[in-house]
Symmetry: C2
Subunit: 243 residues, 2 copies
């Protein structure tokens, strides 16, 4: 990979890479704006996030069509093919993150009608900032073929999971304190879970980068994730204890 | 597509199709067993579902490697390439469904320690049966290139969403009735959401089938889904009203 002879294939691949970076930029903005619309009760911004998702979907379709065209036309070598197939997977992950951001923005209009829940908005903002930074780094790692950075992104997903688990506990406490908190907490929990899933998709992108740069699947480096299904703290019926 | 000359490519493709059907069979069983383990409090069965997921992941890796090999070796035509790329996407959807089934099974051990919540277990069983049937039909539609059946699967996802929305309301009511229900309801809600997401992935498989058989993306036939973010019934703070 030291010497590059710029072939027709490479020019095509550059075009595809440019598209994935464009998609990535839109998705970073969608995460940021969705979180901001929630924090600042900005219904118009939320609306723009929802409307913007169509552009991402269109980009994904274009990227897939273009990738298929390049594969059919250029008959790339096994290694080049691996790059294209990985980029297609990345674009699918980005598209899913966009859906999740849209879903998040949808709840802005609902939550402003409800009582505010302690520091939940702040926690959500922190989670989404972390995911946004991870996404930026994952895409940088892809372009710069930086395996170490990609592995760093994978490791940071544990922080997001940790933030999620902490918030889940907090929400439970608020629900127990006052039944009027139950409905807003359910919505906030949805949002938290959405951000946590965005983190999983970013991790999946970073895993593709590790696979492309090292040839091995990171597989088991990625411990998992949503601890509410196995942490004993969540298995004791807190409600029975506290109320 | 009337006359088939059995080429090396077609034999390879058949191998890949056989693998996807094998994956599909494992996933159908995983959905069924995960739901059964919840309904019958069968912790050992839940354990088997969790352990079985590794086999699905391995099949997906194999399928991707094989698909990449076939593309590189046979340089398929644009149409044949589209089939392979679609099958790769389907396998990614199946893998995600497997993860969701595993996640669902993980909660069996927790829920048996908690108070039972009305008809929730029954509703979950019904949802998961519907998703399992949809998956079976989506895979049949793929093998038989049956566009009508694939479109039928896409339409049926709305029933799953409806079941989910109803259950969401029920869970809110139970939480308001007795705070001791909050923790189990949060877990049940996770499970319901997981099944609803399985339905989305099955729909995505069916959409691939429509794309392959008709050449067009079904796109907007698929209304969306989780109504708790836009249904006015969920936007009024029920808690404030009822308690």
């Amino acid at each position: 990979m030291e010497q590059h002879i710029s072939s027709a294939f490479e020019r095509d691949l550059e075009g595809i890479q440019a598209q994935i970076m464009k998609m990535g930029g839109l998705i970073e903005a969608a995460i940021r704006d969705a979180a901001k619309s929630l924090a600042t009760h900005d219904v118009e911004l939320a609306e723009r996030v929802r409307d913007g998702d169509a552009a991402v979907d269109a980009l994904e379709d274009m990227l897939n069509d273009e990738a298929a065209r390049v594969i059919a036309l250029r008959a790339p070598t096994a290694i080049d093919l691996r790059v294209i197939l990985s980029v297609m997977r990345m674009s699918a992950n980005l598209e899913r993150i966009g859906d999740l951001a849209k879903n998040m923005a949808k709840r802005t209009g609902i939550l402003i009608e409800m009582p505010e829940i302690g520091g939940a908005a702040k926690s959500l903002r922190r989670m989404s900032r972390e995911v946004e930074a991870m996404l930026k780094d994952a895409l940088d790692a892809h372009i710069q073929r930086d395996e170490a950075l990609a592995r760093d992104v994978i490791a940071r997903d544990l922080d997001v999971d940790q933030l999620y688990n902490t918030l889940f506990r907090e929400l439970l406490t608020f629900m127990l304190e006052d039944p009027r908190n139950i409905t807003p907490c359910m919505h906030l929990h949805f949002i938290a879970k959405n951000i946590e899933r965005m983190g999983d998709h970013v991790t999946s992108i970073a895993e593709q980068v590790v696979f492309l740069t090292s040839g091995t699947r990171p597989g088991d480096v990625r411990a998992k994730s949503d601890r509410t299904s196995c942490d004993p703290a969540f298995s004791t019926p807190v409600a029975a204890r506290d109320v």
